[in-house]
Amino acid sequence: MIDLSFTLNGRWVTLSTDPLRRLLDILREDFGLTAAKEGCGEGECGACTVLLDGHPVTACLVNAGNLQGRRVETVEGLVGTLLGQRIVAAFEDTAAVQCGFCFPGILVSAYHYLQHHPEPTEAGVRAALSGNLCRCTGYEKIIEAVLLAGTREAE
């Protein structure tokens, strides 16, 4: 067991846990932040994507022992931001969500992309979402929604 402190959606948290425990499980079980989903547990589907020190990572591959002092942001925090709200609205307006399982991970990847690319392009969106798999939609509306969110932010 180790004692661990890190910031989670803007506030410091501490816990005692197994150093190999996955961040995904810590989020879902210890903090009730269940937006991040386990789609594969191997980093290949992106359903568990969160931001670590501002960069998208798959939480199923992050171990507690490597988290000390780092900054974690999840969907639950990002939807409270202006950009997060714009992304949610764009997905609603384009009806780009079907079952919703992939959507939290997609929102995080899209958030990061739009944060760094005020003038989004389709190629850029496709690259940013290349690690997020969706089994329902065929991706076209998702890409349209992310571009729409980016366009609205520029207004």
């Binding site: 980093g43 990572v57 022992g65 290349s130």
Partner: protein, 279 residues
């Protein structure tokens, strides 16, 4: 009973490794470790968690070499200004490695230490004449990357060492033509069926330098020294498919496995090399 240690500094880690006789396991990004743990359970080796060792995360220029810390992630590597300046070919070739999220965790050192025969970073770094800095408490050993692997998932790392950095001669990829192709089931998130990195220089219509490294075609990714030497001095268009086939056959041992077949791997490797060198 295996241990888990989280060193706060590199010198502390090296001191802990000093008297080891069994190799330890280093956990940085965890992009291989956690997949293997999910499939095979907890490893029965002493584990050192090193994702937060700042000393392993620098990218610097030291005299005539670019030195990249083993803890640098693929994302950091691809975005680094000195990489884009001196080795844009490497940045372009590795731009679709795994996925953005995995690139933000996976480290160059981890890709090397895990030692998969399909490791994507190795063929491009082999062609760029990379060396590794292997550090122990007493010594810094420099080993050319082409001498690092000795067999399937085996390498020359000693139990008291870790990979500290990858270094590249700044002029490794100046004045010539780069080639890279990774063949996989899809563009991203794909383990290679085969991969090829290459470098050629042609002067007055003749081949004066050729470097070829392949992945997923041997027990570990390798340069092909016999192949590289076989065609020097020749006009590229004069090379025949049969010659390319013969020299390739001597230095690759593709297999049938869940991702591909021996026949496909050989044919595609041969075709890509033929088209690039002679076409």
């Amino acid at each position: 009973m295996s241990t888990i240690t989280i060193p706060r500094r590199l010198d502390e880690l090296l001191e802990l490794l000093r008297d080891r006789t069994e190799p330890a396991l280093f956990l940085a990004g965890g992009t291989d470790f956690n997949v293997q743990r999910k499939k095979l359970g907890d490893p029965q080796r002493d584990l050192f968690l090193i994702a937060n060792l700042a000393e392993l995360q620098a990218i610097t220029i030291e005299s005539d070499r670019l030195v990249i810390g083993s803890g640098v992630t693929f994302g950091q590597f691809l975005a680094a200004p000195d990489v884009r300046r001196f080795f844009p070919e490497l940045a372009d070739s590795l731009g679709h490695f795994a996925s953005p999220a995995v690139r933000n965790l996976a480290t160059l050192g981890g890709n090397l230490a895990n030692g998969s025969p399909t490791a994507d970073s190795v063929p491009p770094f082999l062609v760029a004449n990379a060396s590794l800095e292997l550090r122990s408490v007493r010594e810094l050993r420099r080993v050319p990357l082409r001498e690092f692997f000795t067999g399937y998932k085996r390498n020359v790392l000693r139990p008291n060492e870790l990979i500290a950095a990858v270094s590249l001669p700044l002029d490794a990829l100046s004045d010539g033509e780069w080639f890279y192709r990774k063949v996989g089931g899809r563009e991203d998130l794909a383990i290679a069926k085969l991969s090829i990195a290459g470098w050629k220089r042609v002067e007055t219509g003749r081949l004066v330098e050729l470097r070829v490294a392949v992945g997923a075609l041997n027990e570990y990714p390798r340069r092909l020294p016999g192949f590289e030497a076989a065609f020097l001095g020749r006009e590229p268009h004069s090379l025949t498919r049969e010659e390319i086939t013969e020299f390739l056959r001597r230095e690759i041992t593709p297999l049938d496995d869940l991702r591909s077949t021996q026949a496909y791997r050989f044919a595609v490797c041969r075709n890509l090399l033929y088209r690039w060198i002679a076409g």
